[in-house]
């Protein structure tokens, strides 16, 4: 049969399209971005009129998807792990409301922090919300899970989480498709109070959610994604979650694996299968890519009974992504290193592109701030975070989407005046606007630099919701028009930029400075170039 060559992300996208998806809602975030991009680029998705435009942030995405589910259609929302923090309020409560049309929440975690500020494990969130979690071990399973997840969601009237990690999200393999399903017709929820979380209704819904626990566990027990491989050597039983199953099997390709193995890819944990494994085996090894979620559950607080090995007892490292070699070391298998890396190999960190507008903005800012001394620039999430590295050394914080403006306000409240925020256009509309309102409400003297490049750059140049609206949003929030300063950041403009920054740093109120120049990576995007011209930017 013909196979498609798909990334794990793309396999999920294709699975959802084939399952009768009506809309995907997402904000770009590595390693989840390619799910939505695949649907945006899919001819079939266009023909089926599947919604795929980017949302302003993960919370608006989650809520919009929930609204589509309310109206009876199958909806999906995709994000990186830290995006789920932004969407958490909607996510947890979507389990209380339950769903009408199938609702699938895809979260791509980033153990080892390849492109992230932490390596939190979304299975903790899934457990917190008390919903089913699917964790594919390969691309075909990612496709199959996305294809079947909507049905599972509709059967139990609950959202379903698909959790994957960077390695699978960004790895390609052959995938076989299933028959294309029709989209749902619109329909209202049978109970008009289902989505009304007034305390009286919410208590009822919560009791219902609790009552689904045995059912969801039963589904995990019967899940085609969880399977046992028996082994005669019961001195050790192995639980391999998601992609770690691949690393285990890689090590036993040419060797006998005599221990029983539970391949675990659907949660809540299938208790009866786990109990059987624990009863049969002297000790248990848990392999999981992320936090020791299952290991901790099995170990419990009393640490009595069967010894449990994994990330908590040092059998595996406590942090970072697993790989075949780390798993080999848990079995004391030899690792044959090839050749040593010569000392002359230097690290080559990522850097802002030659000719990038952020560079010119930082050069000017560093000069303008000389008279005040260091330690007062609060930055945000985007390419401009690379301003933390030499030769710029221009920023002092990067915490979460939008935190630049609010942290600058807090520091100013504490007497660090002037404090400066540096944020991109897309991050500003994601989570910067409300913080700016806080500063305007109190006329806090902060200087906000919105380095506007008309795109969401770091994730590969997706649309920015700020395009064409930036000044009107800022004015609408209440920043005085004379303290909204726009210019083109180039080396020729350096003196002018420094002068403007100096003026606004002195102003004892809210200033917004907008260095504005198109991201050079997007100059080949003809429709964006055209739109920028049309808007007169």
């Amino acid at each position: 049969m013909h196979k498609l060559l798909l990334l794990g992300d793309e396999a999920i996208a294709q699975g959802a399209i084939d399952a009768g998806l009506s809309g995907v809602y997402a904000y770009p975030g590595t390693p989840s971005t390619e799910i939505t991009e695949y649907i945006q680029g899919s001819k079939l998705a266009r023909e089926r009129n599947i919604h795929s435009k980017w949302s302003a942030n993960e919370k608006t995405a989650m809520e919009t998807a929930l609204g589509m589910s309310y109206a009876g259609k199958r909806a999906m929302t995709c994000m990186k792990h830290v995006g789920l923090n932004v969407a958490a309020d909607a996510f947890i409560n979507a389990a209380i409301t339950g769903v009408n049309g199938g609702l699938v929440v895809v979260v791509a975690d980033d153990p080892s922090m390849h492109s992230s500020q932490n390596e939190q494990d979304s299975r903790v969130y899934g457990k917190f919300a008390m919903i089913s979690i699917l964790e594919p071990h390969n691309q075909q399973e990612a496709y199959d899970m996305a294809y079947h997840a909507f049905e599972l969601s509709e059967k139990h009237a609950l959202p379903v989480m698909i959790r994957l990690t960077t390695r699978l999200a960004h790895s390609r393999a052959g995938v076989i498709r299933k028959p294309l399903l029709d989209q749902n017709n619109s329909s209202l929820p049978k109970d008009p109070t289902q989505f009304v979380l007034l305390p009286a209704f919410a208590r009822r819904n919560y009791k219902h959610l609790l009552s689904t626990r045995p059912d969801l566990e039963q589904v995990s027990t019967e899940s085609p994604y969880n399977w046992m491989i028996d082994g005669h050597d019961k001195s050790l039983g192995i639980v391999a979650c998601g992609i770690t199953y691949n690393y285990l099997m890689e090590n036993f390709k040419d060797r006998e694996l005599n221990h029983p193995v539970l391949k675990l890819s659907q949660y809540p944990m299938p208790r009866s299968i786990i109990n059987q494994l624990i009863n049969e085996c002297d000790e248990i090894l848990v392999l999981e890519d992320g936090y020791p979620v299952i290991e901790e559950l099995l170990k419990g607080y009393q640490e009595a009974g069967t010894p449990i090995h994994g990330r908590l007892d040092g059998t595996l490292p406590r942090d970072g992504e697993l790989n075949p070699n780390i798993v080999a070391s848990a079995f004391n298998l030899p690792v044959e290193e090839g050749f040593p890396v010569p000392d002359l190999v230097k690290s080559r960190p990522p850097a802002m592109c030659k000719g990038c507008g952020h560079i010119d903005a930082y050069k000017a800012l560093n000069i303008a701030l000389e008279e005040y001394g260091p330690g007062r620039v609060f930055a945000d999430i985007g390419c401009y975070t690379l301003g933390a590295l030499p030769p710029y050394n221009a920023i002092n914080s990067c915490v979460d989407m939008g935190a630049s403006i609010t942290m600058a306000k807090g520091a100013t409240d504490a007497g660090l005046n002037p404090s400066v925020a540096v944020i991109g256009d897309s991050t500003f509309t994601h989570s910067g606007m409300t913080g700016l309102l806080d500063a305007v409400s109190e006329k806090t003297p902060i200087t906000v630099i919105i380095s506007d490049n008309f795109t969401t750059g770091m994730t590969g140049g997706q649309d920015s919701q700020a395009l064409g609206h930036l000044e009107s949003i800022i004015q609408g929030i209440g920043v005085e028009p004379e303290h909204i300063r726009v210019f083109k950041p180039t080396s020729a403009n350096l003196d002018e930029m420094v002068e403007i920054m100096r003026e606004e740093l002195k102003y004892q109120g809210v200033s917004v400075i907008i260095p504005r120049r198109q991201c050079i990576q997007t100059l080949r995007n003809k429709s964006l170039v055209h739109k920028v011209k049309e808007l007169g930017l």
Binding site: S115, H170, A173, Y247, G338, L344, L386, G460
Partner: protein, 197 residues
């Protein structure tokens, strides 16, 4: 049959096009394939790598274990050395010798070449020069694919077919240049091999 290949380079040098071409050729030849690549932050001028695994049997891990790679295929000389712990003792290092210098302390090229030449099996060619000669310096990545092709158990015409498919939407001219680049890279590797013998 199995070929485990570490592709190495700097963000923007086109290692993903090499991976896509090989992937296409592998799927057409009914081989199993896994190919792990790097997206996101590192793509901005940082070091990038991709693990490409081709096999007549199903592939378990998306990542190649240390010491198991049959080939390191690098489009940049210093980057070719970064992943040496993955190279099998019997494996081949196939690298471009034109450096991409975007860091302040890029090592002395003579020393880089000396390290490459220490390896028992290596092919080092000037892919940028060869690509310029066939008509487009930007095809140096496909020159390198050609140079590695004698060590990969996929028919040469399947690679040509892969190039036609991957580059077709960029126009016939781009396809032709890349086909020439593939051929020239293979010739350069064959000449190096003949010279060794």
């Amino acid at each position: 049959m199995k070929s485990d290949i570490v592709l190495a380079g700097v963000g923007g040098q086109g290692i993903l096009s090499i991976a896509a071409t090989l992937g296409m050729a592998a799927v057409e030849n009914h081989l199993y394939l896994k190919q792990a690549e790097v997206h996101g932050m590192s793509q901005r001028g940082g070091d990038v790598q991709s693990h490409l695994r081709l096999s007549s049997e199903p592939v378990a891990s998306d990542l190649i274990p240390k010491g198991k790679a049959d080939i390191i295929l690098s489009v940049e000389p210093m980057e070719s050395l970064r992943y040496l712990p993955f190279l099998s003792r019997k494996g081949w290092l196939v690298t471009n010798i034109t450096p991409f210098e975007n860091i302040p302390e890029y090592p002395d090229m003579e020393k880089v070449m000396a390290e490459i030449e220490k390896l028992p099996h290596h092919i080092a060619i000037d892919a940028d020069q060869i690509a310029s000669e066939v008509g487009n310096r930007r095809a140096s990545n496909i020159v390198m694919l050609g140079a590695a092709s004698p060590f990969i158990d996929i028919p040469y015409d399947a690679l040509e077919e892969g190039i036609r498919k991957i580059f077709s939407r960029k126009g016939e001219g781009v396809v032709e240049v890349n086909l020439k680049a593939l051929r020239a890279g293979r010739q350069a590797a064959e000449e190096s091999l003949a010279h060794m013998n």
